[in-house]
Structure formats: C-alpha cells, structure tokens
Subunit: 274 residues, 2 copies
C-alpha cells in the first residue's frame, strides 16, 4: 500500500529528483498496534534533514494524515516515508522546489526470533565508507555504499555487516547503528563524518541515561570493538539485536541488550515481541 | 519525450531502487542531426559502470532502438539514459534484478554563445567531495554532493563551480571535467577517488594525443590551476568551454580550447556550433 502526495498510487514522475540524483530523504518506522512508533522523533529527523539539504520543511499534518490512512487496520509492519525534492528538468540546480512525499507500508521482515534472544552473527565489510560531513548523520537517498556493502555476503545466517570509514574507524552496520559496552560504560561511534543518526540509536542513548549507564560518542577502533564486554545493534524496525559472533569469533554477552529490548517493548517502541 | 523500458510513459514504479537508493547509473548525450554523439563511448561507460556496481549488462540493442525511436525528427538536443537496478522490496540487498531503462530527450540548454567563444566565469565550491574509490569515475545516481555544490551560487553569470576533494585536490566542476595547460603539457585530475570520468574528457584526451600534446592525469592543486596557461571545462553537452575568470581573477587563454571545439564540431561530436 502506497500514497504518493496523498494519492493512492504506486508510481512516480520519472523526472523526480529522487530518481535522477537521490535528492531526498527517507524514514523507516515500526508500526505497533496501527501506530507509527517514535513518530515525533522520526518527523524531527526528517525536518532536520530537510534543513541540512535545503529542502522545504515537510507539512507534518499531511504526513500525519497519510500515515493514518495507510495504517488503518495494520497491526504491525513497517511504514516508510520517502521525501524528495520533487520533479525538475535536467541539471543539479533545484529551482523552485515542490517536494514529493511517498508513504508506504510493508510487512515486518521475518528474522529468526533467536536473533533477539541469542544474538546475531555479524561480519566486517570490505567497503570503507567515504567521509562527507555535509551528509553525515542524514538518512538521505544516496545509498550506493550500503547497496555495495550488503552485496558482499549472501549467507543468510549472517545478519549484518559492520562498516568502517576510510580512517578505519567503526561507524555502523549497513542498516543498523552499533553500541559497545566496556565495563559499565557504553560507547557508540561519532557520526559527524559518515553514518546515519538512527532514531532508535537516539532512543537507546536516552534509555541508557535513564538506566544510569554513561554513554559517549567516540571514534571507535576495530580492536576496541573486539575487546568489548557486549556489542549490540539498533534500528527502528528491529529495536535491539545483541551480537554473539563477529567474523566467526564469539562476542561476550551481558544483559544490557536484553534490558533495552524489554524496555522498548514496554513502551511499544518496537513491533517484534521477544 | 520519454521511454520507460521501451514504453512511452513518463512515470516509474515508486519502488524502483533508483528512488530508494539511487541504485543505478546515467548518461547524458548530445544529439547531433538526430544521432546520439559519441554513442559507443557512452554505452561503453554504462557497461563498465554496470560491471562495477554489479548490475546486469544493459541490452544494447534495446537502448539503440529506444534512442532511434526518441530521436526521430529531433535535430539537436540532449538524450539522457537512466539505467537502474529496477524494483525491489525494502532492504539494501538487490536479489534478482530486473533493471529499468529510462530514455528521455530534452532541448539543448541555452547558454550564451560567449561562453564558448570568450570563456566562462567559474568559482570555487565550498563543499569538498568525499573520497570513495568504489564509486569514483562512475556516473551513478548518488548526486547529492553535486546538488549541494550547485546550490552554493545563483549568479547566472557564473557558469560552473570547481570542486576539490577532502585532501584539497582539484577534481572537477559540478557538471564538467577540467583540464589545465601548463606550457605545452596538458593535465587533468586523476579520478580514482572521486569525480566522474566524462565521455567528453575521454574524447579530449584522445584529441590531445592526436594533436601531439602530452596529457597526464595528476593530483592537481588549486595553486597549479591558478598558475596555468589555459584552463578549460568539458562535458558531452557543451563540448569545451574555455575558462576566462576564476573567482574574479583573469585566467590566461591560449588557443587549445578553441582548437578542440573546432575539431569536435568537425566530427559532429557536439550539438552547439560556435
């Protein structure tokens, strides 16, 4: 099911700047009991992204009414918003911009329950993320790096690949953010040069603070990750996955990932009950 | 006028991976007397891009018949090919890939004739291109850097902005490649870490060799560009523009840009007669 500028259709002007240049942003949102989880946080990130890309501010009441129309009767699933610079002629210059909003809903992806309960296998990606401060943190539509990184493996037992930047700093997974616990301290990569500032990452930072666990954004090395007491991944659809194996090596597990899962479920911020 | 997978339509499946991730490539081609100029070179670059991105090889006979259908009766203009990974569900993984080809034709852009004859004003862009060897050289659909760079100026007298990478090496213009003549030697930036390997850039390299002018790909500094005896820009639509001013400073002009223009016109490789 899809709405394009509020109309029930599944096609788009082929001259849209999303097609030509990836000129736009997106949000991926868990649907819990017919409601978009962490809706305000997703809209806030979309608004911030528009400011940074110079796009007109999205009309929040239209996004809200589109979402309501789409989610009527949908108990659980994934709501996606694509917000583009709209159609234009050839050329990188935007000119007068009339954005396109595309909202769609799809079923929850079917991952094994063990990935929440026992943890996931992850691997290192060979691709190194480019550093571009002007785009870092944004969930923009230029995603060829993630497409190429995700094409590096096909083993369905490997849940995620971890990406480093060109300075060999750990940044994120192809579709997740990443946290490491060292002793009683939580760390997550700085995303000022590369990476996506995930909404679930933000929620986990808040929850860690509520639990009294100090958390800092750091330049994280591969070695630091290998020495961690616990590693977990986050995104808005999965919530939190503990990591149990990294490139074949066991990763220790404590209880933080499971505590965060419980809290996210209690708050109805995730769609998968585990 | 537009053909999507050979059908006369102007819309696209909104679930196409070009929309979601910029997962594809494009070509911009001058139309000269109803024929696509440097057609073989454009197809070769598209093919190479598909190999590097892991996309199926385009069916050249279909591109050829689409182009013939579109260009019938079009004396001069711009033919654009967008070649995408096709539609898919959510997720970076491509799965079985059924590419989409979009061919469209538009009028030639209306630039002042003086830009060919007397040269263009250019400026330095503030944005620094990210370095990503996996994507360098390709004319892919992830173009937010160019969109942001082009938004840096609105003065219509400034024809182009010059982009540097994060190491302060000169790479290209937002829509052009760049050459500098120093004495009797021609230089153009290496594009192994950033930039688009333009088809017209390739043709100019060939022409320089034919004219007996040695040309090398180098790491080019801003200072070297400021000390050049001649600077010019190239792309498939404009051919060659001499640069006469750079950020307000005069740039010397010799005759190479004009000689190349004459040669490209004689070969019918450009659509603008100057």
């Amino acid at each position: 099911m899809m709405l394009v500028n509020g109309r029930r259709q599944c096609f788009l002007d082929a001259a849209d700047r999303a097609v030509s240049y990836g000129d736009g942003l997106f949000e991926t949102i868990a649907v819990v009991r017919s409601r978009p989880a962490l809706w305000e946080a997703h809209l806030a990130r979309l608004r911030l992204g528009c400011q940074r890309l110079g796009l007109p501010t999205p009309e929040l009441d239209l996004l809200d009414s589109d979402a309501r129309a789409l989610l009527d009767g949908v108990d659980a699933g994934v709501l996606k918003i694509v917000y583009t610079a709209g159609s234009s002629g050839r050329g990188f210059r935007r000119g007068a911009c009339s954005p396109t909003r595309i909202l769609s809903v799809s079923p929850l992806p079917e991952y094994p329950r063990a990935w929440w309960q026992e943890g996931v296998d992850v691997r290192w990606c060979a691709l190194r993320l480019a550093q571009q401060p002007r785009l870092a943190g944004l969930k923009h539509l230029n995603r060829l790096e993630q497409v190429l990184a995700r094409a590096e493996w096909s083993d369905p037992r490997v849940a995620e690949g971890v990406l480093l930047d060109q300075n060999e700093c750990v940044i994120e997974g192809t579709m997740t953010n990443l946290f490491v616990l060292v002793g009683e301290q939580l760390f997550t990569p700085m995303l000022d040069e590369a990476g996506v500032r995930g909404v679930m990452r933000g929620r986990v930072l808040e929850l860690a603070a509520e639990l009294g666990i100090p958390c800092s954004e750091v330049r994280l090395s591969r070695a630091q990750m290998l020495e961690a007491d616990e590693v977990f991944l986050t995104n808005s659809v999965i919530g939190v996955w503990p990591v149990c194996r990294l490139e074949g090596h066991s990763v220790p597990q404590r209880t933080l990932a499971r505590r965060l899962q419980a809290r996210l479920q209690a708050d109805e911020h995730v769609a998968v009950w585990v």
